[in-house]
Amino acid sequence: MTTKSLGGALALTLLASTAFATAASADTLSMWVRASGTNAATNLVNLWNASHPDKIELTTIPDNQMVTKLATGVQAKDVPDLVSFDLIYMPDFMKAGFLTDLTAELKANPNYASVAKAYQDIATYDGKIYGAGFTPDVSILVWNKDLFKKAGLDPEKGPTTLGEIHEDAKKIRALGADTYGFYFSGSCPGCNIFTGSPLMVAAGSKMLPANGKDDALTGDGVKAVLEAYKAMWDEGLVPKSAQADNGQDFVSLFKSGKIGIQGAGGFVIADFKKDVPTMNFGITFLPGVKEGQTSAFVGGDVVAVPVGSKHVDLAKAFINWELTDDAQIEGLAKNNILPSRPSLADNKYFKAEPKLVTTAKALGVGYVPWVFHFNDMVNSDSSPWINMLQRAVFDGDVDGAIKEAREKMKAIAAE
């Protein structure tokens, strides 16, 4: 028996059991999803609703308020049945006891074993499992094939080292006043941890400390990447507006055909197809300093069951269901979203779009940081991470920036 049919049988059994249990009347489950994950989540929820009597109602929470909403909801004992949120919050939520223990159900689900290791790790605390990957995204490098061609570069070959990024960017900048070689959102902490840190990790660095005794920003990778960014900035290969970009123009300039190379996420595949269908772009892994070094930031949303959920069994059933082949392929892959089970990357939808296959493979080489207070350390507007980036690249003090960031991160981790 193949995994697929076994999984299918399991799903059917679960479905049947829940159907028996709630045969009397259909329930409605509430689910919170963050704003930027709404489109992705809607695909899965619609698929579930089409084939199950119990319906799920989605509520969209603006990204920045998700933590506050969940925290106040738990305290007021008014939580949704399911919640999907940025996976970097898992450690904090698990530690705070906000989430229901799903260990028994997920360990018994054969599909869970094939979920990408990064997603399994981020959802595990003290040996117990509290969630599963839901709508994955992963960071990759994109390049503009038309600009490459114009600059005399091979449009089918993306850069494979940090040095190549720099060299290629120089050639593209030479094309004209309006064309830039490289881009990054200089005031967006999240964009840069997503696209910049994998360059550092690929070059051998470890990023964030898990506790007060752990090391932060180890290895030479951090310095190498910051120096490369600084060099590109100093040489004018990056538009001046990048410095003030909070993320609102994360991919806008690339979409206008003005940028040669930049880090981005798998989400661009669907996004570009919709908004700029004629753009020729390539996707590859984010590289390190030497050939063959690659990494990625494994991101996206996880799904969990908050403590206080009024439909715990149904919620668990949903999570088990979303890991099935059918849900992953028809719900996610069909809509250009990565399945959280890399083994399913080889599906009919992805075969039609090879960029998706590359992106799915990136899940395998990627990392995800398992730390508390990720928000404070990285995403916050006053975080050591963004201060380090800005001080190194725009102020020019690479060493000082790294040193300061290391100290502040360790201080936060020690809290």
Partner: protein, 295 residues
């Protein structure tokens, strides 16, 4: 009867010395046009951008005019999640309750402050101003937990109470000023006719201060309509959400990317009701803001 409203033409004495159009008048007119153009420009550009395609709205370099007309941004906003009609309905409900609550509380309070002398009056007035002096973001969390215990969380009524308390200081100030503008003779005449203070309020003061009431309603509407954080914290279901929450969600992309077209469309959409209310009530509230500045 309408002592509280002074014919507008008389204030021409301030604006210009003579009736015929002097060069000064032309200059003043030109300045008006310039001011209006400057103030309207961002909104006009926003409107133009809202009818561009999504890609064009974030194009680099930007274009003043749309390359091609497209309703896709409006489509996105109108069809987002629960649908625009739901959000508008919720916002209207909350705003409506806020207006009523503001009037019910601010009118008597303004009356008491305007026409009665009692020790501690100014301190009471300061206390009534307190809500605007506290960073209300900090108050929202304890307030939400309190309301949850009282069963007021997740209710539009509860949210309206929060909006009311935020509007109350300004509303009371408006009503106080409006009532202070009523001449003593009229109040004394009513008293001599045997009216109690309550009857005076209902039969004499409220009608005379009607423009003030309208003004309170207008500002209560505008501020309740646009309030975001309280609405998000107090509501837990998409179908209960108000327009500001939808506006934030519809324009948010991955990693903070902003859908500029959706932003512009949502700005245009959210302005329209407030603009309509403002235009309808305009003739009332200008004379309503008789802030009693001059007596």
């Amino acid at each position: 009867m309408s002592v509280a409203t002074i014919p507008a033409q008389d204030s021409a004495a301030v604006a210009r010395p003579a009736r015929r159009l002097s060069p000064t008048a032309y200059l003043v007119g030109a300045i008006c046009v310039a001011v209006a153009a400057l103030m309207a420009a961002p909104l006009a550009l926003s409107l133009l951008a809202s009818i561009k395609t999504t890609a064009d709205a974030s194009a680099v370099p930007p274009h003043y005019l749309p390359q091609a007309l497209s309703a896709e941004s409006y489509w996105k906003v109108v069809n987002f999640q629960a649908g625009l009609a739901t959000y508008v309905g919720n916002s209207a409900l909350v705003a409506g309750i806020t207006i009523v609550a503001c009037l019910l509380l601010a009118a008597p309070a303004g009356y008491g402050l305007a026409r009665f002398a009692f020790r501690g009056k100014e301190i009471a007035f300061l206390l009534l101003l307190a809500p605007i002096m506290i960073p209300y973001q900090a108050l929202l969390t304890p307030l939400y937990l309190d309301f949850a215990k009282l069963g007021l969380a997740n209710s539009h009524f509860g949210l309206a109470l929060v909006h009311t308390v935020l509007q109350l200081p300004f509303s009371i100030y408006l009503m106080r000023s409006a009532f202070e503008a009523v001449p003593r003779e009229i109040e004394e005449a009513a008293a001599m006719d045997g009216c109690s203070s309550w009857q005076s309020l209902l039969r004499v003061f409220l009608p005379l201060a009607f423009p003030g009431l309208v003004t309170v309603g207008l500002f209560a509407f505008i501020n309740s309509w646009n309030e975001f954080l309280g609405a998000l914290i107090f509501m837990n279901h998409e179908t209960d959400f108000t327009v500001p929450i939808m506006i934030v969600s519809v324009r948010t992309g991955n990693h903070g990317a902003v859908d500029w077209g959706a932003l512009q469309a949502s700005v245009v959409i959210s302005i329209l009701p407030c603009l309509a209310v403002y235009l309808l009530l305009q003739r009332y509230y200008i004379s309503g803001l008789l802030a009693g500045a001059v007596k």
